[in-house]
Amino acid sequence: MKHFFRDLCRSKAGLFGAVLLAIIVLLALFAPLLHLPDPTRGDLRARLAGPTWSGLFSPGAHPLGTDEVGRDILSRLIHGSRMTLMVASTAVVLGGIVGTFLGILAGYKGGLVDRILMRLVDIQLAIPLMLLALLVVAALGPSITNVVLVLALTSWIRYARIIRAQVLSLREREFVQSARAIGASTLRIMFLHILPNVLTPALVVGTLELARVIIMDAALSFLGLGVQPPTPSWGRMLADGRVYLSSAWWTVTFPGLAIVLTVLSVNLFGDWLRDYFDPKTRSAK
């Protein structure tokens, strides 16, 4: 653990990503304690008010402006981050569990199981993920659970492919061979001997997937198929603000910046994490 932090502090990009991500997560966690204006209650006298920095700490201040019904954008961004982070991380963990399990199964068992699973991956890869997500959300209806399920569905294949490749080489290692020789069951080998060895790559895939899933979640909300109002979501704020593009630039600029900063921080941290666990690529970075 000590080595982990020492290495992180040495990488400027990784440290920047980690700190930024920590700030975003902390803001999301402690949003209710921040005394922000109610993100769902508007003030019609302050519709589309521009960002003002004077009197920042007075009750009526809107440092990032307000939207078309006078709701404070900063407050909506911070409250929106709770939903985005929760939906995205649940989806990535869910996809990770399914993908890792299937990857181990395909890699270790080989043969027919492997061939069927890899063909399934091929089939799913042939549909653009966005269209698949749209179709499934449209079929099931836009609810938080369905959005999480759809995002997990687009995520499992990436884990499965990478884990499978890892398992193919692990399978031939001596400790697996000897476990098999002393008669350990397939399940025991898969979970006790192979699983601990693929957790690290799964973690790396998961971090990089998180960035992709955050963008996709925003895109779904942008198209009106994500989390439904009045719950604030970044994609929805963008879509609503588009109407007032010519008169109120802040309604679309800040939600977008929030997405960019979050994704950037996750990517920077994820890139560093990958290099940390795989010194081979470190030289190429």
Partner: protein
């Protein structure tokens, strides 16, 4: 090689069949087309009549068989919205999507190729840092937001370019640039790391040591080998973009396949959804099939292994 081609062809066909099957069953969950087609307040008898007309009263497995039989011939039925064959409606949108996709890929490859090469060759200089920082930002920016920001700046504030629509080259600039940013960011990062790997190889040192021109070493030894992963990435990106850059097309009111399918999903126009997704998946699978063949030409090691 023939065995390999045949096996890949079989896999490709299997993938398309899988997509068609998934799309068929998912669209069935979307709702009852008969109830949607008739005006509100239609009598149950009318609905029943239309259901039997559309074959919806048959067992699901029979419907699926019928669907497959027609799909093979490119017949997905009539579009509910447009009252014309669904495949025809989709194919009409293909040129717009293809124009946008290929323009974006072309610009993305040029920008990303130059940026990635410069970053790899000028390792450790300030220019590498700048290129990589911009590429990282480009990858973190959702295309729909970038599109809106470009509209805001070049369309609304400056008034230089149209904010959306289709027809002239001015309409193409902003959506193509939006997608090209995304493409070039991915290409630049991939090309750089792939080049850095190759620059370390012994044969590059040999080539330099025997006094070859720097440009010869770069184009003949470095670039050719570094391009292999870029080809894969380009194929994937082309597939994604041809699949309708759903959100970009929506932001710029670009009349492509992606926007058509979104509208069809909203209107529950099943034949168009099915025809559109099948067409996209077929194009995607075909591109990947061709790329696999291309590998054999680019990389003799792969040819030998097979």
């Amino acid at each position: 090689m023939t065995g390999f081609i045949l096996r890949r062809l079989g896999e490709s066909l299997l993938a398309v069949w899988g997509v068609v099957t998934i799309v068929f069953f998912v669209t069935r969950v979307l709702g009852d087309p008969a109830a949607l087609l008739l005006p509100i307040g239609a009598s149950p008898a009318d609905i029943a009549q239309l259901r039997s007309q559309l074959g919806l009263d048959q067992p699901l497995i029979v419907q699926y068989g019928q669907f497959l039989l027609h799909a093979v011939q490119g017949d997905f039925g009539m579009s509910f919205q447009h009252s014309r064959p669904a495949m025809q409606v989709v194919l009409e949108r293909l040129p717009a999507t293809a124009l946008l996709a290929f323009t974006a890929i072309a610009f993305g490859l040029i920008i990303g190729g130059i940026a990635g090469s410069v970053a790899a060759l000028k390792r450790g200089r300030a220019i590498e840092l700048v290129v990589m920082a911009v590429a990282l930002l480009g990858q973190a920016t959702p295309v729909f937001w970038l599109g809106i920001m470009l509209i805001l700046f070049f369309g609304v504030n400056m008034g230089w370019l149209p904010t959306g629509g289709y027809g002239s080259w001015q309409n193409l600039v902003l959506p193509a640039f939006t997608l090209a940013v995304f493409v070039s960011a991915s290409i630049a990062r991939l090309l750089r790391s792939s080049m850095l790997e190759i620059l370390k190889e012994d044969y590059i040192r040999t080539a330099k040591a025997k006094g070859l021109l720097r440009s010869t070493v770069f184009f003949w030894h470095v670039a050719r080998n570094a391009l292999i992963p870029v080809v894969t990435m380009t194929a994937i990106l082309t597939g994604e973009l041809l699949g309708g850059s759903v959100v970009t097309e929506t932001v710029f009111s670009w009349p492509g396949i992606g926007r058509l399918i979104i509208q069809a999903i909203e209107a529950k126009d099943f034949p168009v959804i099915q025809a559109g997704i099948t067409l996209i998946a077929t194009i995607f699978v075909l591109i990947n099939f061709l790329v696999d063949l291309l590998y054999g030409i680019l990389d003799p090691r792969i040819r030998a292994r097979r």
